[in-house]
Amino acid sequence: MSDQDQAIRPWQRDIYSVFKAANIQHVSYVPDGGHRGLIDLCADDPEIGTTVLTTEEEGVGLAAGLFLGGQRSVLLMQSSGVGNCLNLFTLAENCRLPLVLLVTMRGEFAEFVPWQIPMGKRAGAALELMGFDVFRAEDAKSVGDICSGAIDQAFYSSRSTAVLLSQRLIGRKNWSK
């Protein structure tokens, strides 16, 4: 599958619909190929603010400030970004502010770059360790429902939640070109 094929996938449109239904007003991200279509959909929506971060850590403070000011947001990152954030997550835990992370996984299926594997293997456990409720989406049809549940649980129950979007769902990266 080429990068072009990753432009906008049906499950990414499902996530975008979930954002709209849940009144998500801001999306911040360090980009990943697996998030590309969703980022494009959000960037084109005048009702959703977007912020490209220099590091995922910034997204935690940003989400906290947005929520304190009355806006719901979602933070998009790749599994490697989870490792960057650990101490920042304590801001949300201490203040019981809901964080919602959508994490595209690397290092778990047909991975070409072995450097992705150490953090990919531990991203889910690291999130659990930091107190997140962690969900995992494996097949395209259930992505929207799982994201909807994670977002609702975060904002209804003041929890930090994360959805791991599996590497198999995102598809193999084409290394042949």
Binding site: T51, L53, T54, L62, A64, G65, L91
Partner: protein, 206 residues
């Protein structure tokens, strides 16, 4: 190995006293939202007078400026003032780039720069070795960024914090040394819920 010693005393700084400066900047704060970053800025902001719309960011070092950005974007009608230290700002220099994407008119970031980690034994920070945080902010795209070295400059800065005339970064060169500790609420849920309830109550009255 030769240790480089601070040259700040020789740069002609009269330097600013942190407590009176913060108190003056928060005088007549109007409907401003205030974020205080961990360590001394938390104590300084509390010493200037507790307020429901103070968010004391006791931990998560590096986050204060980004919490301020989130508030500024979600509450464009209100001035947002962040007090942070040089140590915390240095931990998240990228925040200047990220803030410059939006350049919210209502956001001011004030760095209380004593060129040292005051909480941990006065070790020098990179600003003591020459990093100019205002120059970094400008290079990242925040044009209104300057270094303040004289107490007289505080009075001129004070009304700018409420003007909502563009993102502002002020690096206040403050006297090194510890202050009497003034300790606000530490329980994060109370700090956050007080803040959000107060905002909601203001909204309901409006």
């Amino acid at each position: 190995m030769t240790k480089i010693r601070s040259d700040r005393e020789f740069r002609g700084f009269k330097m600013i006293e942190r407590r009176p400066a913060v108190a003056e900047l928060l005088k007549d704060r109007g409907n401003a939202l205030v974020v205080a970053g961990l360590g001394s800025p938390v104590y300084d902001v509390f010493a200037a007078g507790d307020h429901d719309l103070n968010f004391y960011d006791w931990g998560a070092m590096g986050s204060a400026a980004m919490v301020g950005l989130g508030l500024a974007l979600s509450r464009p009608e209100r001035p947002v003032i962040v007090f942070t230290g040089d140590g915390e700002m240095l931990m998240g220099l990228g925040a200047f780039s990220t803030i410059a994407q939006h350049r919210p008119a209502n956001l001011s970031i004030l760095v209380l720069d004593n060129e040292q980690y005051a909480e941990t034994g006065m070790q020098r920070t990179a600003t003591g070795f020459g990093t100019d945080l205002a120059a970094v902010a400008r290079a990242c795209g925040i044009q209104n960024a300057s270094v303040l070295t004289r107490p007289e400059e505080i009075a001129a800065l004070q009304p700018m914090l409420r003007a909502k005339a563009g993102t502002l970064v002020g690096v206040l060169k403050i006297k090194p040394g510890d202050q009497p500790r003034t300790v606000p609420e530490r329980e994060g849920t109370l700090i956050a819920s007080r803040f959000m309830r107060s905002l909601a109550a203001d909204q309901a009255r409006a």
